[in-house]
Subunit: 216 residues, 2 copies
């Protein structure tokens, strides 16, 4: 996949060539403007109630990337990559203030009426009173998974590589990077110019993961 | 995005044109062979330890699609869509037997040595003894989010539409479709030929979701 921030990467080439890359060119920098474009592309992902409960801690300062090294038990890609995106799920994403803010923007854009907004907020209040904390967490984590996949793909489409990491010291990350309690840290995603290609990996056959019409 | 199972959809067109579609042509059928191809494309997604803790209940029988109607509180897209993919997270994905099966396939493909397999299984045993159930659930749910995004995109690349749904009666789904306790039901994704286009929706600005180097 060649660099084409101008926008013509083949979808199938992107999904087939994306691999987890653990070695990066440490001299390569991605400008913040480009990272912001990538965030815009990734956040085209859908989310429950369009709540967009994803937040991104993006570490591109060299000294701070080094602080990620002990947090990730010495996985050097967090230092060598151009930037490291920590995907955070906001437990408060379904709060009335967060949703009202988003729906007000939708009204401003002409995508929603005041009436629909009020009905949806009432529905949300009802939902919040019915569901468990675990359900809301699963929703936010799922939505963060959706946006994370688009980060990996949008990076590949631009000629960059990534590696999604979930095994790290979340408590230490929280302390060093001032992550408040309402944000759950999920994937840590280094992004940069590959110095070594990723390994191919196998996949289960469809018949090992698909159940037709009933889980036996 | 035009139909091109042959494989040249533009990545940017796919991510920009994907929308949640709630009206489908009920006469349109997607052959199972094509759904299997789509599953193969989607499951190119990465997962922690390559555990691939995603499972898919795919409902394409018309009578059984109707049983999804009360489960989804009457959202008609589950009946009109050609098929409905229920994404399930396997709580046992990090079990030794599941992982050993996958690593044996990797050895067979020449991607892994017996030695690395044994080291990784030891590492996994250590990990399983250290982490909480909530952490493992977050990992599996995140991975299911990753693969779900690729389902949505791979469908769009083939000229189909989708709508990810999380608000439904999970207990009733479990009963009607025999979902065992170790599988957590996440998104329900109808897929088919759109009868009406989806609405545009707004997104938060990058500066509302990005924190540079520290969450203030």
């Amino acid at each position: 996949v060649k660099d084409n921030s101008k926008g013509n990467a083949d979808f199938y080439e992107v999904i087939k060539s994306r691999r987890s890359v653990r070695y990066y060119d440490p001299s390569f920098e991605i400008p913040r403007e480009e990272i912001i474009e990538l965030v815009k592309e990734a956040t085209l992902a859908p989310s429950g109630h369009n709540a967009q409960g994803w937040r991104f801690l993006i570490v591109d300062n060299q000294d701070l990337k080094k602080k990620l090294l002990p947090i990730t038990f010495g996985q050097n890609q967090v230092v060598e990559a151009s930037a490291v995106i920590v995907v955070l799920a906001d437990k408060n994403a379904y709060s009335e203030s967060n949703i009202a803010h988003i729906y007000d923007k939708a009204i401003e854009a002409g995508y929603m009426s005041e009436d629909i907004k009020n009905k949806m907020l009432q529905g949300l209040e009802h939902l919040n009173s019915m569901v468990t904390e675990q359900f809301l967490r699963d929703v936010m984590v799922t939505d963060c998974g959706l946006v994370s996949m688009q980060i990996l793909l949008a990076a590949k489409a631009r000629g960059y590589d990534t590696v999604p990491m979930m095994g790290y010291d979340a408590g230490e990350l929280r302390k060093v990077f001032n992550v408040p309690d309402h944000l759950i840290s999920l994937l840590i995603i280094p992004i940069g110019k590959a110095a070594k290609p990723g390994h191919p990996t196998i996949r289960l056959n469809p018949d090992e993961v698909v159940f037709w019409n009933s889980v036996s």
